[in-house]
């Protein structure tokens, strides 16, 4: 905890330097960053809303990495989930609540799982490198969303590449203000994934396969089956993230739907050392950073480019301190 605090201090000091170079006054800018993340209810709401997709995709990435599958495709799986949730939510929206909502969430989960399974099958059956496969599937998913909002899902007015709003019966209920039920669902899922990974035989197999596929095979586990089931779960989580984003925040699908949450998820998972509890904290941190950086532009007049540099610099500082901690532990264990 002390070390994490130290990392944040170092990160802020580095950011202050960057801000100084950019010509902004560092202290008001960082104050705006903090206020924009946790300053009042508006800020807290933004932080929670931005945390939700990062938490789910972060869990998705962590789970896949645990099983030794480099799933870079959370982005594409999220997009497919958003696409499916929109399509199903729009077509079933006339039914009574909560049927359309459940159908839409189910569709999002299934679509994400399907998209992830494609990459898993390619590796298991054909030996295709999953990094390449998942990245390529990201592009295909982005194009599919683009096609859908210019084609079958385009709004009736036909003006902007976006779908019509999803009917209310398919939307997530609000818990408080703009905070939707999906946030609570994501937090609960973090606990579920932790239990799955560390308290079930399925999770044990995933971890053994990830640590050493050869040893897993000798022990009688099928690495292929483990990869397939892990990717089913991983894709389901990422797909759900996209579905929740549509049903809880945007209310509709549009071109350029994701602002790269599926990629940020990789940083979230790595920073958390692939642990679900850590993913929750890391997602909160990145969510706060995203919310605060918007405020840094709006309140302190720092340009978006420098905001991005501050974000990346903070991540680097955290990773560097994490790495140095790893070395200290290693040195203590092997003097």
């Amino acid at each position: 905890m002390l070390r994490a605090l130290a990392a944040v201090v170092v990160a802020f000091a580095a950011s202050a330097l960057v801000l100084l170079v950019s010509g902004a006054r560092p202290l008001p800018a960082l104050a705006a960053l903090v206020a924009g993340a946790v300053g009042d209810r508006f800020a807290l709401t933004d932080t929670l809303l931005k945390t939700c997709p990062l938490l789910l995709t972060g869990l998705a990435v962590a789970l896949a990495f645990r099983c030794g599958f480099w799933n870079i495709g959370a982005e594409g799986q999220l997009l497919m989930g958003a696409l499916a949730a929109t399509a199903v939510g729009r077509t079933t929206g006339a039914a009574t609540f909560p049927l359309p909502l459940l159908a839409a969430l189910g569709a999002a989960t299934a679509a994400g799982a399907l998209w992830a399974t494609l990459a898993a099958l390619l590796r298991v059956l054909r030996g295709v490198n999953e990094i390449v496969a998942t990245i390529m599937l990201n592009f295909i998913a982005a194009r599919l969303v683009g096609w859908a909002v210019h084609g079958p899902l385009m709004e009736a007015a036909g003006r902007y590449p976006q779908s019509d709003p999803v009917p209310t019966a398919a939307l997530l209920p609000m818990v408080a203000g703009r905070v939707h039920l999906g946030v609570a669902l994501a937090a609960a899922l973090a606990a579920v994934i932790w239990a799955l990974l560390f308290r079930t035989s399925v999770g044990f197999r995933w971890r053994v396969v990830g640590d050493n596929a050869q040893a897993a095979r000798v022990a009688g586990f099928s690495p292929e089956r483990a990869v397939l089931t892990a990717m089913l779960a991983s894709g389901a989580l990422a797909g759900l993230a996209g579905g929740i984003e549509v049903l809880g925040v945007t209310g509709r699908l549009f071109e350029q739907f994701s602002s790269g949450q599926g990629y940020t998820a990789i940083a979230v998972a790595l920073l958390a050392r692939l642990h679900p509890a850590g993913v929750t904290l890391a997602a909160l941190f990145f969510g706060a950073l995203a919310a605060g950086s918007g405020a840094m532009q709006r309140v302190a007049g720092v340009s978006a480019v420098f905001v991005a540099i501050v974000q990346a610099g903070t991540l680097l500082a955290l990773l560097a301190l994490e790495a140095s901690r790893g070395r200290t532990i290693a040195a203590a264990e092997h003097p």
Binding site: Y160, P161, S259, G294, R298
Partner: protein, 324 residues
């Protein structure tokens, strides 16, 4: 007991402190939501210049934020409004829905969208009829090479962009009724590589004059034009500074002039929510040539193009306007 009272106090303080509808006002403040980087030397850069002009000419406080997705539009609109900004400008057609959604909660803030048609008591579109200028550019292309082909590369396929292409093609056909114009969209505003690749593909299919309306991805179009030795047309801002050997002329909007006029009305309490239209006749829209490439346009062509521009200004030639 004390614990419960404290908790209650905390909840009340939280509820009061976080009230989203609060409106503090300290002086006149104007904010700009740009859909892309203000370093794009085009659409967003022009808007930022407009914002700075408002700051300098009216002596008011300004702020700018880059927003990419509808949730970000809404978040930024809401945040500026609750902080008491009197005028918030969403720079583009795509900001209409978010403005209409947020506006009822903040009746004392004016939400202006550049392009669009949505009008509410405190929401109004400021429409730049860039079509006037792209019509003239299309005509110029067709006159420069009557047996050639022209093309256009856009960011997203949205009415405000498509409209400039429709007018570009209409201008070309004004010179020669069967003049071919091909249009391509890259599906975003940032990918220079995609813009370059799309332009190269169009050039391979015979395009000799390319018009771009792709914001930050636009320089990719100029790059392709330069590589293959064809001429390009810029949009929204004087763009021959971006690619001095490739950009022959630009369809330009005088955004500073338009922003200052609207901001002054809002500041003086004279603003009425209604669609505002800026055209070539007002002088807000213009065609600006690259002086370094002036020799490329023969005198007779230049004469005819100037005559057409005068006709557009006088409204004796019908330029197709996009339905927004």
């Amino acid at each position: 007991m004390l614990g419960r009272r404290l908790l209650l106090l905390f909840v009340v303080a939280f509820a009061l402190g976080g009230c989203e509808r609060e409106q503090r006002s300290t002086g006149f403040r104007v904010a700009l939501l740009s859909p892309g980087p203000i370093s794009d030397a085009g659409w967003n850069a022009a808007a930022y210049e407009g914002l700075l002009a408002v700051r300098d000419q009216l002596g008011v406080e300004v702020s700018q934020v880059e927003t990419r997705t509808p949730p970000e539009f809404e978040e930024a609109f809401r945040d500026y409004a609750r902080r008491g900004f009197q005028l918030v400008i969403g720079h583009g057609f795509e900001f209409q829905d978010a403005a209409a959604k947020v506006a009822p909660d903040f009746p004392r803030t004016v939400f202006l969208t550049t392009s669009g048609s949505t009008v509410r008591p405190n929401v109004a579109p400021l429409v730049f009829r860039l079509e006037d200028a792209t019509f003239v550019l299309g005509y110029l292309a067709a006159r420069l090479q009557p047996d050639g082909k022209a093309c256009a590369v856009g960011g997203m396929d949205i009415p405000s962009v498509r409209g400039t292409f429709v007018a570009f093609e209409a201008g070309a056909k004004h010179a020669r009724p069967d003049y071919p114009v091909t249009v391509s969209y890259i599906g975003g505003w940032d990918d220079l590589g995609a813009a370059r690749a799309a332009t190269l593909a169009l050039i391979d299919r015979g395009c000799r004059y390319v018009f771009q309306n792709a914001d930050a991805a636009g320089p990719g179009v100029f790059q392709a034009a330069r590589e293959r030795g064809i001429y390009a047309f810029g949009s929204n801002r004087v763009q021959h500074e971006v690619a001095p050997t490739a950009v022959l002329a630009s369809a330009v909007i005088d955004i500073p002039h338009a922003f200052v006029a609207v901001a002054r009305d809002v500041k003086d309490g004279r603003f009425q929510a209604r669609p505002i239209e800026e055209t070539m006749a007002d002088g807000t829209i213009a065609v600006v040539y690259n002086p370094a490439l002036a020799a490329v346009v023969p005198a007779d062509v230049r004469h005819d193009v100037d005559a057409l521009a005068a006709a557009v200004r006088a409204r004796t030639v019908a330029v197709p306007y996009a339905a927004l």
